[in-house]
């Protein structure tokens, strides 16, 4: 009896040294590492993970007193409500069109500029163009929209130009048919230079002897761009394209918010601005959260699909 008891206790201590005890010893050794990670961990937990849990509000009848968890479940009530709403079609359509225009016009612009910059042999001039073209990236959205407002006003730059062709002045900001062009155009103005950085880096990694050999073989500039430069940036193009497709529904809605007005809602109102108006301004949290959740779910699906397609047809993919 006595023997078995002591044997058991020996076994206990033995298994202890290789199990929890070692873990504890390491834990004590690493106490500073734990301490260092703690503040960041808490911030991410509270401001990134709590809101993920807070998404549940989309399935609930939110009651401030009961909190998110305590509120009544209502299932997909708010999702159905949105899809039955005639506003849904308008905002989905506007979001998709703005996203598609961004992809068609905004995405290739920096690629073209990078290829052309790469053809400039005068280094100082190239540096100068780069420095100038990066700057708009650092201008705030409020300033950009303020400038658009000034240029599109009746006595502004745009009407000065159209006036040269004898056209009547127009207030571009209040006519919905100009909204998309202004939105995408100003986006390109702001982003084209900055967007070249990754492409230029990929181009500088292209083997210079390839260009020499091609010159000896009598290739002209266009052939060199097509057969050497473009293949050199293809992986970068594909990765950035996948990310852009994932972001196609993620309109820069803060810019829309500053740019639009009731007379342009018809073309300008996107899902995110709708969420803002109903949720933050109108206090319909559950409904707005449901709309936001649908948007992120579809966006995520877009990334998955493009990534799958890219992996299938080329060697490059995000994962």
């Amino acid at each position: 009896m006595d023997q078995t008891a002591s044997a058991k206790s020996i076994m206990k201590t033995r298994s202890g040294t290789s199990g929890p005890n070692r873990f504890l010893r390491e834990f004590v050794q690493q106490k500073y590492l734990y301490l260092m990670v703690l503040p960041g961990f808490l911030i991410v937990l509270v401001f990134a993970y709590f809101p993920m849990y807070g998404v549940l509000v989309a399935f609930k009848d939110y009651n401030v007193a009961k909190g998110i968890w305590g509120s009544e479940w209502v299932g997909f009530k708010y999702f159905k409500q949105f899809l039955d709403n005639p506003m849904a079609l308008r905002t989905i359509k506007n979001t998709l069109i703005l996203g598609a225009y961004g992809l068609v016009f905004g995405f290739p612009a920096p690629i073209v500029l990078a290829l052309l910059l790469n053809e400039i042999r005068h280094t100082a001039f190239k540096k100068f163009v780069q420095t100038v073209s990066y700057f708009p990236h650092f201008i705030s959205t409020v300033i950009i929209v303020g400038m658009i407002k000034e240029f599109t006003s009746l006595d502004g730059l745009f009407n000065q130009i159209t006036g040269l062709f004898g056209l009547e002045p127009i207030n571009f900001m209040t006519e919905s048919k100009y909204f998309r062009a202004l939105f995408i155009g100003s986006g390109i103005w702001q982003g084209i230079g900055w967007g070249t950085i990754l492409y230029l880096a990929a181009l500088s990694n292209a083997d210079p002897t390839l260009y020499d050999v091609a010159s000896i073989d009598g290739a002209n500039r266009w052939q060199k761009i097509r057969n050497i430069s473009i293949p050199a940036i293809m992986p970068t193009i594909i990765i950035l394209f996948i990310m852009s497709v994932g972001g196609i529904l993620g309109t820069d809605f803060m810019k829309v918010l500053l740019m639009y007005n009731p007379s342009t809602y018809e073309k300008a109102d996107v899902i995110d601005t709708y969420v803002y108006r109903l949720g933050i301004e109108g206090g319909r949290f559950e409904y707005a959260a449901a709309v936001g959740l649908m948007l992120s779910a579809v966006s995520f699906l877009f990334v998955l699909i493009t990534n799958r397609l890219s992996r299938k047809y080329s060697e490059t993919s995000l994962w």
Binding site: V37, I43, Y134, M147
Partner: protein, 293 residues
């Protein structure tokens, strides 16, 4: 290498350089025009005669902006948000990234996954707002500084940078009795000045330009950052002006655009002034960030 430039190649160069000059003009002209309008006489503005340079020199727009107490309040707020936000971002990101470079740290993989998830999923605008509201952080100083200060992306870049620092330095510091916190502050951070400077710049610019968070999280004007002040100048109609300013507009002593463009210039000036000197660090920052991608 000697180029035997063909005619076609030279035409290509000429067109290309022409295109680049056009790009420079299209980029610079709007900015110069903003400055020119801010300094021009009302009549030239309404006739659409102001282009590159001010016409009928007039600084009344600046006078009106400089008379607004909210300018100074919001400027001070933005400087405080930017300073506190940047310090917090750099310090907490370093603290979180350092342990992830130590392979035997028990939570290394756990924390990495914990951060990576946030790169793909987020709660969205409304749930984030509700959490911040429940924490009673609405309308506080900290709501502009704390929630965005740790990003998975930054932590990963810092970790990658720290990994390139020789671990022998760390080991020898241990022997001298230093703990990890001391190693980070005394050895790693001084060796990471370039990284810290680059990210400080990015964070300061981000704080300088923020307005949407202020719009949804702040109610009290006196906490508003500079961009919210600018927004109120640009997007409020004349009714918001004092009667004195209204009279000036009536008498065509001043154009509302004078005031609006002056506000833009005042907001943009600091960035415009430091930009030429720090531009190369921004580019470096993008490159550092893309390595992991």
């Amino acid at each position: 290498m000697v180029y035997k430039s063909s005619v076609g190649s030279r035409i290509f160069d000429a067109v290309n350089i022409g295109f680049m000059l056009l790009l420079v003009i299209v980029t610079v002209y709007p900015l110069l025009n903003v400055i020119a309008v801010s300094l021009s006489h009302s009549d030239y503005i309404s006739l659409g005669k102001v282009t590159w340079f001010p016409r009928g020199f007039n600084t009344k727009g600046y006078g009106i902006i400089f008379d607004k107490p909210m300018l100074y309040i919001s400027y001070r707020n933005t400087v405080l948000y930017a300073a506190a936000g940047t310090l917090l971002t750099l310090f907490l990101t370093s603290l979180m990234a350092y342990p992830l470079t130590i392979s035997k740290f028990q939570l290394k993989n756990g924390i990495t996954v914990f951060l990576a998830i946030t790169m793909f999923f987020s709660g969205g605008m409304i749930p984030t707002y509700l959490i911040i509201k429940q924490l009673h952080m609405l309308n506080t100083f900290w709501v502009m500084v704390v929630p965005g200060c740790i990003s998975a992306y930054n932590v990963i870049i810092f970790r990658t940078f720290f990994q390139n620092i020789s671990s022998e330095l760390r080991e020898s510091a241990y022997i001298d009795g230093a703990n990890d916190l001391v190693v980070l502050i005394r050895i790693y951070l001084p060796l990471s000045k370039a990284l810290l400077a680059t990210f400080a710049l990015f964070t300061v610019v981000a704080h300088w330009n923020v307005w949407f968070n202020a719009l949804i999280y702040l109610k009290d004007e006196h906490r508003y950052p500079l961009q919210m002040f600018l927004r109120s100048i640009i997007f409020t109609q004349q009714e918001g002006q004092s009667s004195q300013v209204k009279d000036m507009i009536q008498n065509r002593q001043i154009n509302p655009k004078n005031i609006q463009m002056a506000a833009i210039v005042i907001t943009m000036a600091p960035i415009l002034c430091i930009y030429p000197f720090v531009q190369k660090y921004f580019v470096k920052g993008v490159m550092v960030g893309s390595i992991k991608g």
